[in-house]
């Protein structure tokens, strides 16, 4: 087999590839905007889950902070939107930055235990957070509607005038809002993970002692990452509230939702930029089609079987599997100063093993 073509990051060929990806993204968005309401709604759901999973990817994928309770961030974001719209007459879309901010603060607080514990023990902490969330919602029923839920009437979800969409075109507005949110999330995540901070995240994941001895403040990396992770998932929650218009903590934000996000991340491909997109597609479309194939409880079994199959075929997730395939033909490598080979010390702080690198550049 012939050697793969090597493309340097920042080269003309690389820029052409990026331009192609952007054109593809725009074409996809235009195609989606012309879909019938049901299909468009499904794509909107995919994009909401994409953002939520991308948030989880930041903590669990890039830093290795296993979280099974991200459903709580999803819920906090959704209820932030609900409360601001229902009780304070905010424009729904404008609540998304607030949802991001609130979840950032909560994420920083929940991330504090990560300073002392990791692995399954941290998972237990996030599990408790996820389990407690519906109870907390029920406790503050004056704000949240409690067990009776919170309904955002469709007129309160009217698109803003400047958007050019009418109330009847609410689905179109949500679709485009989701497109923007996904684009911003992917861009920010890509920049973040390739920055020096991204190197620090990877170093912390691979070996905390080595990272610390390299001058990385592990406490800040861990807590800040957990906060950012929760914030991104919270922003997705805000959009979810706008999509659904009806919030029931025991229906949408249970531990099951947290596990769903985790499944999406693992199957989509952790530590990859495109993994959350595949994850979103999987958590929306696999249950949809398996439910068509098998009725009732059988569909749940079928769903599980499909997931197992994906894990066997692509253990690194769909994005990881595709990446491996693409690397047979094309390899993108970081640009290097002319005449400078990578030094051993540079390799020492490298944030990626070959495997993780190839995933990240997908």
């Amino acid at each position: 087999m012939s050697s793969p073509k090597v493309i340097d990051r920042g080269s003309a060929a690389h820029r052409a590839l990026l331009a192609g990806a952007v054109v593809l993204g725009v074409a996809f968005a235009l195609w989606g905007s012309g879909l019938a309401p049901f299909e468009q709604g499904q794509i909107t759901r995919v994009m909401i889950y994409t953002v939520a999973i991308a948030g989880l990817n930041v903590a669990t994928g890039y830093v290795g902070l296993l979280s099974v309770g991200h459903s709580a961030f999803f819920g906090i974001g959704a209820y932030t939107t609900g409360i601001l719209v229902v009780h304070h007459d905010w424009g729904a879309w404008a609540t998304i930055p607030v949802a991001f901010g609130v979840c950032l603060v909560v994420g920083l607080l929940v991330g504090l235990p990560a300073l002392r514990i990791r692995g399954l023990y941290l998972a237990m902490v996030t599990l408790a957070f996820g389990v407690a969330f519906p109870e907390i919602v029920a406790r503050f029923d004056d704000l949240t509607g409690g067990s009776g839920g919170m309904t955002i009437h469709r007129t309160a979800l009217r698109p803003p005038e400047w958007s050019g969409f009418s109330l009847g075109e609410k689905n179109q507005w949500l679709f485009w809002l989701a497109v923007v949110l996904v684009a911003v999330t992917i861009y920010v995540t890509a920049c973040l993970t390739r920055s020096r901070y991204g190197l620090a995240m990877s170093a912390v994941r691979e070996n905390e002692i080595a990272a610390s001895s390299s001058g990385i403040n592990i406490a800040i990396v861990k807590t800040a990452t957990f906060g950012l992770s929760g914030a991104i998932t919270g922003a997705a929650g805000g959009l979810f509230a706008m999509y659904l218009g009806s919030l029931y903590a025991e229906g949408s934000f249970t531990l099951l939702a947290g596990i769903t996000l985790l499944i999406g991340l693992v199957i989509g491909g952790e530590r990859t930029i495109l993994g959350p997109i595949f994850g979103g597609l999987i958590v929306v479309y696999v249950p949809y089609y398996t439910s068509d194939l098998g009725g009732g409880q059988f569909s749940a079994v079928l769903f599980a079987a499909v997931l197992l199959l994906v894990i066997f075929v692509a253990p690194a997730g769909v994005a990881g599997g595709l990446n491996r395939l693409v690397r047979r033909y094309v390899v993108i490598r970081p640009a290097r100063p002319a005449g400078h080979a990578p030094s051993p010390s540079t390799r020492g702080v490298s944030n990626e093993s070959p495997t993780s690198k190839e995933r990240q550049y997908s």
């Binding site: 905010w90 009776g148 803003p160 911003v184 920010v188 001058g215 659904l244 749940a300």
Partner: protein, 425 residues
């Protein structure tokens, strides 16, 4: 701490700032409520508000398609299977009898796994792709997920298994008619029952810590407050023995138990273990599963619930024509005597009665005539307890007209009627 280099930082910060600033600036100009929904004098439907007014008044001549988004998988799949068994049996019986003036009913099911976002997706697919004539679902979460879209599209959501007070607003949700009695109505009835049957009631509330249990507990406390009845103490039933001990210590001679299926009888057996025998124990109507009380033994003797559905296993109703017809239609279906199965049957029966009334109207069978019929009911559905009717009008939300008290008889291992039907109007 490793920091971002300046150029990277700028690259990250700029788009984020632009996005956030843009969002915040334009927020001021966004509107939140300028109300498309028109108020009405009495109940009337203005189909001009519908997304497709012509579809709302188009006559249905080929078949009536009902889109049912149900948790066919997930945590409540078991009860849903019972409910849909009853529902399907009644629809089949109607179709075998010729349908609605010759038009057959087709029920399309889609699984939502009890997740509201899936219910919403199902609803959109039913409305946009399948062009259904009516919708149904299971649970308040599902109803909430469907309500906005189906009201905008003017597709009737008929008799979903929910009782969310938010969707009782006929102005906001004219096309939504729920099936379950509201917790407020049921608990008001139970409060009155307590006052009529116990001198000097000292009432304690035991509630399940789930949303459903808490909602019932809160509704009971509201009803008690409205009736000027004091509540001594409120505890959770997580540890039934502790709850019973707390009630005993508080000196409660009446207990309201807002339990959920699976927890209903456990409190009674725990009460017996701690030697606590209040004068009266009343429970939510969803605590009607005989198996739980059988397991609870003598401790459950005398527990009272408010009922509105007939019990097919009641020997006194063995020759009741409605029960005979029901059991014949259910055939070998599992657990036909389960309250949930009966509820599914009655939901379908109400739908059929509504469709028939709409078909017989001047306009014939249309979406508009269907919802108008659903808002104009005075129907003694055969599987409702004698004396209870399904009532709805422009001034009254749809629901049963009353309840009858039934007490658990541990010796006979069944609920026995202990009083007349009392109207809740």
């Amino acid at each position: 701490m490793t920091a971002l280099n300046p150029s990277r930082r700028r690259r990250l910060a700029l788009p984020a700032l632009v996005a956030v600033a843009g969002l915040l600036m334009a927020a001021c100009g966004s509107s939140s409520d300028d109300g498309d929904d028109k108020a009405s004098d009495g109940f009337s439907i203005n189909v001009d508000d519908c997304e497709d007014p012509a579809a709302a008044t188009a006559k249905i001549t080929d078949k009536i398609v009902v889109g049912y988004s149900a948790p066919l998988s997930g945590p409540v799949a078991g009860p849903v299977e019972l409910a849909t068994t009853g529902y399907d049996a009644r629809i089949k019986m109607a179709n075998d009898a010729g349908g609605i003036n010759g038009v057959k009913i087709e029920v399309k099911y889609r699984d939502d796994a009890f997740q509201p976002d899936k219910t919403k997706a199902n609803g959109t697919e039913f409305i946009q792709k399948d062009k259904v004539d009516a919708l149904a679902t299971f649970g308040s979460g599902g109803t909430g997920a469907l309500a906005d879209d189906q009201n905008a599209a003017c597709i009737p959501l008929l008799y979903p298994s929910s009782s969310d007070p938010k969707f009782l607003d006929m102005e906001l949700y004219p096309w939504t008619v729920q099936f379950l009695p509201s917790a407020a109505a049921e608990t008001a009835y139970l409060v009155k029952y307590i006052q009529d049957n116990v001198d000097d009631p000292k009432v304690g509330v035991v509630e399940n810590p789930t949303a459903s249990g808490k909602a019932q507990g809160e509704a009971f406390q509201e009803s008690a407050k409205a009736a000027d009845m004091k509540i001594l103490d409120t505890v959770e039933d997580t540890d039934p023995a502790a709850a019973a001990t707390a009630m005993k210590a508080a000196g409660a001679n009446v207990v309201y138990h807002g339990g959920v299926t699976g927890t209903c009888g456990v409190f009674d057996s725990a009460s017996a273990r701690v030697d606590y025998k209040p004068e009266l124990v009343v429970k939510a109507s969803n605590c009607a599963n005989a198996a739980e009380y059988i397991a609870a033994g003598a401790g459950a003797d005398g527990v009272v619930i408010a009922k509105y559905l007939k019990d097919p296993s009641d020997p006194d109703l063995a020759k009741d024509p409605a029960v005979v017809e029901y059991l014949k239609a259910l055939g070998n279906a599992p657990d036909p005597s389960n309250t949930i199965t009966v509820a599914g049957w009655v939901q379908a029966d109400l739908l059929i009665n509504t469709l028939q009334q709409a078909a017989d109207s001047e306009d014939g069978l249309t979406h508009q005539s269907m919802i108008e019929a659903a808002r104009d009911q005075d129907y003694a559905s055969p599987m409702l307890i004698d004396g209870v009717k399904w009532v709805s009008s422009a001034d009254r939300n749809a629901g049963v007209s009353g309840f009858a008290p039934y007490a658990w008889n541990a010796k006979e291992k069944r609920f026995i009627n202990v009083g007349d039907v009392t109207s809740i109007d």
